[in-house]
């Protein structure tokens, strides 16, 4: 019997037993569904982290000069004690680093923490207070929608001016034009001079709750109570220039702190790579768990298929006898059942992909990110599904093929 006939026969058998076929392929379908959904979500997240998150939160071609690294998972106790022993970073250190940067690099001191801001019109609201320099707006590509950003002169003078995100503007001023009005942080009044463009959120963390003030204002003292600096962010115009900047900064700081060659840095120069490496680790864990569970599901589904096919073979003994009497060879019967199993699991795989894509899209839509499904993975999923049918269909199909026609015809 030609191959095409076998497929047509398999499809027909599946068609006449819709419900049973559906339950047979359910296991494979659910396995593939989870596989596709999880990978779509994880890929979507990682894509988001690499493109949007890195640019919005960390900045392109930037490095941060800090006392200790920010993105450092699995810090040991010893490491932590070493971090605590490190000297603090003060304005003088920041100026030293700034002075050795290649021309074209932009730098801004950044102290940030969550503080409460209030106005006369509303209850206090927690905001992401950022005490920084004028270049910060440029480095972070922050767009001031109404009003203006503060200038280097205002930073130098310690002017009590503030630029706020839309979320804070709405909350504190309730529809009124915030420009020229007063925001209080730590009891000190700041005049609103600008409102940022709406940015949305990252992983549910709103970027519109920023309140940006010059680092020379008392806000810095609220964040870094010892009068030191939290960090300085530096952006190179290219990746190479950023690398140069890091090396210059390291050299200057080691010189300034009299670190002998061979001794480790007692400060951190962190690039977005370290943040991305952190997320890579996270992603790997998600992929492992996200695929191990569906894989178990697939194996269970495969067992179910084998079991149901065995029952089907017993149930269809008479049919097998008839087919054999009419001239079906062992190969014909073997192929019939193998192709039936593979077609079932293949359909299960395709349905699983469709449901998985939908589920992945649904979940990522809730997370405000875009799902990514590798095309190779969907092809692989179909191939694996079909392979499961072939592998786990072998035993039932062989049993069918080896039936004695006389016995099979007598079977009731």
């Amino acid at each position: 019997m030609p191959f095409f006939e076998s497929v047509a026969l398999a499809l027909n058998t599946i068609r006449v037993q819709k419900l049973k076929s559906f339950f047979t392929l359910l296991g494979v379908m659910i396995g593939v569904m989870f596989l596709i959904a999880v990978v779509s979500i994880v890929q979507g997240m990682s894509n988001y982290v690499e493109n949007d998150f890195a640019a919005k939160i960390i900045g392109v071609n930037t490095f941060t000069f800090r006392r200790r690294p920010n993105f450092n998972p699995n810090t040991t106790d010893d490491q932590w004690r070493e971090f605590q022993r490190r000297p603090r970073i003060y304005a003088a250190d920041a100026e030293l680093v700034r002075s050795v940067l290649p021309t074209g690099n932009k730098a801004a001191i950044v102290n940030q923490n969550f503080l409460y801001a209030s106005s006369k019109l509303s209850r206090p609201r927690q905001v992401q207070a950022i005490a920084t320099e004028a270049a910060y707006f440029d480095i972070k590509k922050l767009v001031v929608e109404s009003g203006r950003a503060f200038s280097a002169q205002e930073v130098g003078a310690g002017a009590k001016v503030i630029v706020i995100g839309t979320d804070i503007a709405d909350h504190l001023f309730n529809g009124l034009d915030p420009l020229g009005r007063e925001v209080r942080i730590g009891g000190m009044p700041y005049t609103v001079i600008g409102v940022l463009e709406k940015q949305g959120s990252v992983f549910g963390f709103s970027l519109d709750r920023m309140a940006i003030v010059p680092w020379t204002t008392p806000v810095s003292r609220l964040i870094q109570s010892k009068g030191d600096l939290q960090s300085m962010i530096v952006q190179g115009s290219s990746r190479e220039e950023m690398q140069d900047g890091i090396e210059n900064a390291r050299e200057a700081m080691r010189g300034s702190r009299h670190l002998a060659p061979g001794r480790p840095d007692n400060f951190a120069l962190e690039t977005e790579d370290s943040a991305l490496a952190f997320f890579d680790g996270l992603k790997r864990q998600m992929i492992v768990f996200g695929t191990a569970l569906p894989a178990i599901g697939l194996v269970v589904g495969a067992m179910v298929i084998m079991n149901i096919m065995l029952v089907a073979v017993a149930e269809r003994t008479r049919e097998i006898g008839i087919r054999k009497a009419l001239g079906a060879t062992r190969r014909d019967i073997l192929l019939q059942f193998l192709i039936e199993a593979a077609t079932l699991t293949g359909i299960g795989g395709v349905l699983g992909i469709l449901v998985g894509l939908t589920a992945g899209r649904g979940v990522t839509a809730l997370m405000n990110i875009e799902a990514r499904t590798p095309v190779g993975l969907t092809l692989l999923a179909v191939a694996v599904s079909v392979a499961i049918g072939l592998v786990f269909g072998v035993i039932p199909a062989r049993r069918a093929a080896r039936m004695d026609p006389v016995e099979a015809l007598r079977y009731e």
Binding site: I322, A325, G327, T329
Partner: protein, 264 residues
Amino acid sequence: MSPQTDDVALSTTAERKVVVQSAGAQPGKDWVIVTRGLKREYDMGGEIVRALQGVDLAIRKNEYVAIMGPSGSGKSTLMNLIGCLDTPNGGEYWLSGQLVSTMKDDELARVRNKEIGFVFQTFNLLPRASALHNVELPLVYAGVGSAERKERAMEALTKVQLADRASHRPNELSGGQRQRVAIARALVNRPAILLADEPTGNLDSTTSEEIMRVFENLASTGQTVIMVTHEPDIAAHARRVVVLRDGKIASDERNQKVTSSLGL
């Protein structure tokens, strides 16, 4: 025209008894079936059951033969062997000039497909397939293309006057219609022999008559028909009756009444 069945009781009356001489039969074109010393034994839990103990049978092309015998006489075993569903433990079996007694499973499957058309007591139609598809089945395994298959299956259904029932499933057909579908299926690949196993066993007497007329017509158009039955009424339709007893041929005679009515 079929004879009146109630008159024809199978007997050993001397005038009817014409022993068929098949000893000198040579497998070839003329003799469709030749068996020599055919033996089949079953091992039933250590006890050897000798179902067939050396059967010599030769059937010419165009013959209409009934194989009779009480239950346990080995007629089912003989039918399974003739139908190439089973292989003998000893002896030889030639079908259409081929020695099939030594063939392997898949070769036998091809022989069944090409040379034998089965008609079973329980019809053995695929319940979920239409009449047309049931008739098509042997052609599917013969590797005939879809269009030609449909055409030939339709032709076979027309021969048994069921062209208008082609799309019906077996459970939408009466017993007689089902058996006619089975006959159409048996004939669709133009087999050398039509092998019927108690073809009327599940039918009432009127329908049985109808089916026997179909066999009669086929036999008269030159189709070799071999029918296994335990009903003398049914066997009486055949032109030659082979009686088995205890795994051996007890008698092998021309059915005088029928042959004489046909002018042979």
